[in-house]
Amino acid sequence: MIPEIGTGLLLVALILALYGAVVAALGARRGRLALVESAQHAALGVSVLLTAAMLLLIYAFLTFDFSVRYVATNTNLGTPFYYRITALWGALEGSIVLWAWMVGLYTLIVILRHRTSARELYPWVLTVMLSVVAFFLLVMTVAAPVFARMATIPADGRGLNPLLEDSGMITHPVALYLGFTGFTVPFAFAVAALVTGRVGDFWITTTRRWTILAWYFLSLGLLIGGWWSYHVLGWGGYWAWDPVENAAFMPWLTATALLHSVMIQERRRMLRLWNIALVVLTFSLTLFGTFLTRSGVIASVHAFSQGSIGVFFLSFLALVVLVSLALIAWRWDTLGAQGELDSVVSRESAFLLNNVLLVAATFTVFFGTVFPLLSEAVRDVKVSVGAPFFNQVNVPLFLSLIFLMGVGPLIAWRRASVENLRRNFLGPVIVGIVTAAVLWVLGIGSVLVLLSLGLTVFVAATIAVDLVRATRARRRMGERTLPALGGLLRRHNRRYGGFVVHLAILVVAVGVTGSQTWSVHTETTLQRGEQAELGGYRIRFDGLRESQESNHGKVTGSFTMLNGRGAGTVLEPAKKFYPQEQSPIAYVDYRLGLIDDVYLVLGDFASDGTSATVKFQVNRMVSWIWLGGVVLTLGTLLAVLPEPRRKAA
């Protein structure tokens, strides 16, 4: 029953989406408002149907309806309740449903917010968004039918991939997809602008908040992914430059570039072509990401499957890219560069350099990711491009970007005078150099670490300089310090939100630098009662115990921390044996700290429990990365606040 109803809902939604896309375009071309309204209703219908389909699927999960193949392959009778709900996006078919549902939701929000304010562009925005939804509906009914019926209903399902039974996996896809799908809106507006010829600033100022929020969710998704990788996968790392990680990172890079170049367009009316190209590139990269994840073209930790679905995604990606580029070519004249720069030493210049570096980094990551394909296509030889490559080539780019982060916000628009440079940068530069010198004297020899930390301090100092000076200016006018600061943040919330976001990046950078440089690890076999020591921490192996959970067997090791902060804590890394998996899944246990994480992974063990091999790591500064995420959230919230009404001066 459910498979049929579900498929029916999706097919009707597909028809409505296609209808709406066509009708909205017709309405725009002929100026018939009634058509556009009809498309609106169609969009509403699509959202309702998608929601219903999703709820139906969740219902199937909750009632163990194994007649639905997706339910049977992703849960079993032992799967805990909350994972049965999140299993919705645990595998390929369901993730498409989630994606489409989000685009549908965003379409509704666009309708509510922009149907009166963006009259000209609006119908075309609808067309694009409904086309995207239609594509995903096509995939989930034809290429990877989510409501496919099992030929014979099994007594029990296969079960969720055990690596997904974790809180990180509950939130990571949701955040990531909110980010990915969020870029559909600026893209739709960009296409609408190209089609209608209204390529001025309106489309981009309208979508500014969309871009920021999509960027934020993408950042959050990446960070949660890192957290999940860190505490579940058992290798003690948070980023492996896996092709699918790269595929999510690339749109983040271009979106960051966009966030900055938008400001140039707003202030100086330049870079219109560039911004449209960036939006198209960002959206295309999100499609490229889903293509990589689902086509199996490049081997990856995430690769869901291989099959015809890859062809669907590549075709759609090709369609989007070719049509967008053709539209840009068509409107080339109106997008012409009206650039005017007073001086190369200016904020415009800094932002342009920021864009150059970010796009260069995107290209690097892209080229490195597809290079194995290229190598095999050209000379039939398989090569790997992994972390050592990406780390080496990207670090200089990222360090330069951090430097620009300090320069950009403070350097003057148009032309920075020597006076302006001195007032803003002399102090921070000195502080940065002094920091590096002090660290060098203290024994840190690595040039990269010195650069990284020195630059971080430099940028932090520039933020401090600006804050202090601005607060002082307000204080001179009679306000007390705290209200002055508060008023400052509120009045110029975009600017200071940006500062807080920069600060968040700094915090993450410190976390990355620290963890890459000072983490230590070892692997050792311990007898019961034996101790191991690493990084100043001592642990003692106390024994093993077996247990049976609802859907897996478990062997848990018991290790006591003997000294340092957290002395007395018992860490219990385990090995989980799922009947449907060929090899056991490691369950990591750790004690997090601001500076030190003590991290244990259980390896082999003697069947009588007298000895166990354990991977023992002391990871340093990793928590700073997650803290950076918190700061990022605060900064984004500040930045998206509605502008306060300017009081009559």
């Binding site: 007073d342 796009v359 260069a360 790997s384 002090v438 300089v465 490691a586």
Partner: protein, 158 residues
């Protein structure tokens, strides 16, 4: 300048202190001294063959543990890191190296980022030149008192 410098130094010192408190003395060496770091260095360059994109150093899989043991054995027997890597390359091909060799066709992937940056900087320079040359017409003269006032006003508000 001094007062504002002091305002800047204080938070920076705090950050410094935080960083310094985390700096370890020379790391406690685990039971087998020198080889552990060397093993890790070589293993980090090798691809774990049963995982997707993890290095032999990082992978928790059994095969990776066996490969690490082989690396350790060969290093202890006196082989150089390059020879150990070569041993694996002879049996698995260049694919086993996580970063492609810097010669021949695979040099392309190493050079590409550099080219990208150079092209970007080149475009940047070109554009900057073109855009600053547009500013040829002299702006009309401004009353210096007004200009001074404007300057002070601008530099006060962020």
């Amino acid at each position: 300048m001094h007062a504002s410098a002091a305002r800047v130094v204080a938070p920076t010192t705090l950050i410094l202190l935080l960083l310094l408190s985390g700096c370890p003395p020379s790391a406690q060496q685990p039971s087998r001294p020198i080889d552990d770091r060397q093993v890790h260095e070589v293993a980090a360059d090798l691809r774990c063959v049963v995982c997707q994109n993890l290095s032999v150093a990082d992978s928790p899989s059994e095969m990776a543990a066996q490969m690490r043991a082989i690396v350790r054995e060969r290093l202890a027997a006196g082989e150089t890191p390059a020879q150990v890597r070569q041993y694996f390359v002879e049996r698995y091909g260049d694919w086993i190296l996580l970063a492609p060799p810097r010669r021949g066709f695979t040099l392309v992937v190493w050079v590409a980022p550099l080219v990208a940056v150079l092209v970007g900087l080149g475009v940047f320079t070109l554009l900057v030149r073109r855009w600053t040359s547009r500013q040829r017409t002299a702006p009309p003269p401004v009353d210096p008192a007004m200009s001074e006032r404007i300057r002070r006003e601008l530099e006060r508000e962020p």
